[in-house]
Amino acid sequence: MSLQFRLASRNLFHDRLRFIATIIGIIFSIVLVTVQMGLYVGFRLMVTTMIDHAPAELWIMPVGTKCFEDPSLLDERQRFRALAVPGVAEATPLVIGYAQWRLPQGTTTPVFVVGSELRGLGLHPWNVVEGRLDDLSVPGAVAIDQTYFERLGITGVEQAAELRDRKVQVMAVTKGIRSFTTTPYVFTDVERARSFTGIAPNKASYLLVKLAPGADLWTVQQAVRANLADVEVLTAAEFASRSRSFWLFGTGAGAALFAGALLGLIVGTVIVAQTLYSSTKDHINEFATLRAIGSTSRYIYTVIIWQALLSAIVGFAGAAAIGKIVAAATAESALPVIMTPLLTVALFVLTLTMCIGSAIAAIVKVMRIDPTLVFSR
């Protein structure tokens, strides 16, 4: 073990109360950043979950559509123009919209209806845990997520309810398809979706396009754009990016999450800086002795940086453990805190950076040490 490391660790652990206070400060700070950034990651995934699960390579949508939940409509006749473009193998309508779900006891709750063709290309429910996807072809059949059983007054498949005064029957149940808006998703056939949402038979929210084998995505996208008027044609990645931008930055939600994370960082930096500074002040005679016996500035900085790094490692370990607990506790919620390996690594690097940055005040203090202090009695 290097002597600098030993000196740093002993300086740090010597005053246990102060060390514990530092670690609590770092944990508080990093947990705050973790939760904010975990929410950000969760939010990013949640806002594009429908786009990510649709098998479409291109999305045709009304001009100005901001996100998947946008209620704008386009003329379904565009579908045939799209199908006429070389390289387009399939183009099918997708209908979305809000509707009122009436529970068996008579109360109502809003739901978000997603309707697509059940055969071939469509945005079908995934993670089906009860019933079958094929059963959605039964008249009045819908699929819901088990998360919303209580909200929708349902306990399993084959149970009935009403959607916009039309009788519906739950024929499939999914697991984990939740909406960050907390409004339950209801999957059904495209025609039924139109009737539940009051959308005219010749209208659709989107056209999902699948390319013919070997077709070039960019070429087909340009050709569809040229062939269709008053629509936008985006790749799945472009549409996901647009949706994320709208929800995260258009609504201010992302800014709020980042502001919380920044606040956490500032609090953490101040706490660690204060601790390292007062620790350096307490050990000022030792640093002056080091200077007197001829240590380089770098040698002394290394001792302080080691102190900062040790604080960072212990603090991050605590914060990561709490972050994992928070992630597990929110896993089933509408907006889970998601800890990805990349986020964990990024948070560790951030903690190290924060702690090293915090050492600046202590280093400045050491730079100003008068080595003749060693002669004071």
């Binding site: 010597h14 030792e286 007197a292």
Partner: protein, 239 residues
Amino acid sequence: MTEIVLEATDLVHHLGQGAGRVQALKGVSLALKGGELVLLMGPSGSGKTTLLSILGCLMTPDAGTVKVGGQAVAALDAEALAKLRRERIGFIFQSYHLFPTLNAEDNVRLALDVRGERARAAKLAAREVLATVGLGHKRKSLPRELSGGEQQRVAIARAIVGKAQVILADEPTGALDTANGQAVMALLADIAKDPARAVLVVTHDPRILPFASRVIHIEDGRIVSEESGGESMKKVSNA
């Protein structure tokens, strides 16, 4: 023939600012030869500590020159001065200035660690020097587990482990009882037997006169007298 290992010429230095500015050194010159143990004596405020700080390259004089091992230090920057200190000068302080969280061996090893010496070699050297000062059996003890005399011996070990040419000791017996003080001085006198090394001890303590090769008296920032250890002993005995 022994060489001069530390030389100061016409040192002038002021302390404080404005109305409180005082001239602490008023043209001090001295030289230390290898194999000498020189005592620097004088009343409080006479300029002893200022002179020690300048000789130890911890402070730059307003005027005058300092040479350590023949090398002039005036043109050296802070890092070059630090290099000079770690390679050529050893310090011993009245209040020891040991690192309370490190054991005796690590405290000694520190003087080699700042020079970038390999840990294994530094450990062996630290153990050897601790044995020389009679503390081989206490190398794992923390400073708080050692007596004042033992702590000062650890500090001496730290000062000599790097084979410094010049040992500067500031009141090394000031916090010790007579027996421990004599033991510490005996060690310093042993070090000064080496013709390549010189020891300068700032002191008020007349009990350590028998260990001196020379005694320099300083008052009001000037060297007022210089005599051999024997002459100084006689004066004290006659008084």
